[in-house]
């Protein structure tokens, strides 16, 4: 697939509201993957915070030992996700300009998705083409 060769900024652009049109699906896998990865990263980060907070509240030594090991695993997972996202160009922690540009495009995309009629009653595209029998 070509989408992983392109940088995400080439793929990410304000989307066309006609999502039924195949042409507008170009770059969709890249869009989905980067969004899912970001969600994954945020969940890992929240997990680290939750575990650290729990450690400050728990005294029981067995529980502390287990939570400490979970915390270490979670930190490793977070490192892996952020490294992968940086390598794929989905995340630019050292290039704030690039990151802000990406955020702006993502914000626009989210607003466009919010405005879409995602589950229309009729998804037929008849009428778009010459259909002599109708």
């Amino acid at each position: 697939m070509s989408y992983d060769r392109k940088s995400i900024n080439e793929i990410k652009r304000p989307m066309n509201s006609d999502y039924l049109e195949l042409e507008n699906a170009d770059g969709m896998p890249g869009l989905v993957d980067s969004t899912v990865a970001l969600d994954f990263l945020i969940a890992a980060k929240t997990g680290i915070r939750n575990l650290a907070f729990a450690l400050t509240e728990i005294e029981d030594s067995e529980a502390r030992a287990i939570i400490t090991s979970l915390l270490n695993e979670q930190i490793d997972l977070h490192t892996e996700i952020s490294d992968m996202m940086m390598q794929k160009g989905w995340f630019h922690p050292y290039n704030v300009k690039e990151q802000f540009k990406l955020d702006q495009i993502s914000a626009k995309t989210s607003l466009r998705i919010a405005g879409l009629e995602l589950f229309p009653g009729d998804t037929s595209r008849l009428g778009t083409f010459a259909t002599p029998n109708y």
Partner: protein, 86 residues
């Protein structure tokens, strides 16, 4: 009096919160990994799901030390089984 020290209520609540969070994460990881096309991300998410299963089991066994714990044998087998994905 039992020799095993039970968890204080606030410790049990904390573990309960961690468990609910892990449950959501595991469910999300396995569902979202099906939507992903990128192989690297997919394997990372599947690996996370498998380790989440282990972590959930650890938290479950910890919660057995709490006064609020429901004895394991009262939960139906089919409700407590999680099978890892390969």
């Amino acid at each position: 009096m039992s020799t095993k020290k039970t968890l204080a209520p606030h410790e049990a609540f904390e573990l309960h919160e961690l468990l609910t969070f892990k449950n959501v994460c595991a469910t999300k990881a396995v569902t979202m990994s099906k939507l992903v096309k990128d192989d690297e991300l997919k394997t990372l998410m599947e690996r996370d799901f498998n380790s989440s299963v282990e972590q959930i089991k650890e938290l479950q066994s910890l919660l057995q030390n709490s006064d609020y714990a429901v004895p394991e044998n009262t939960i139906k087998k089919s409700e407590s089984e999680i099978t890892p994905i390969h």
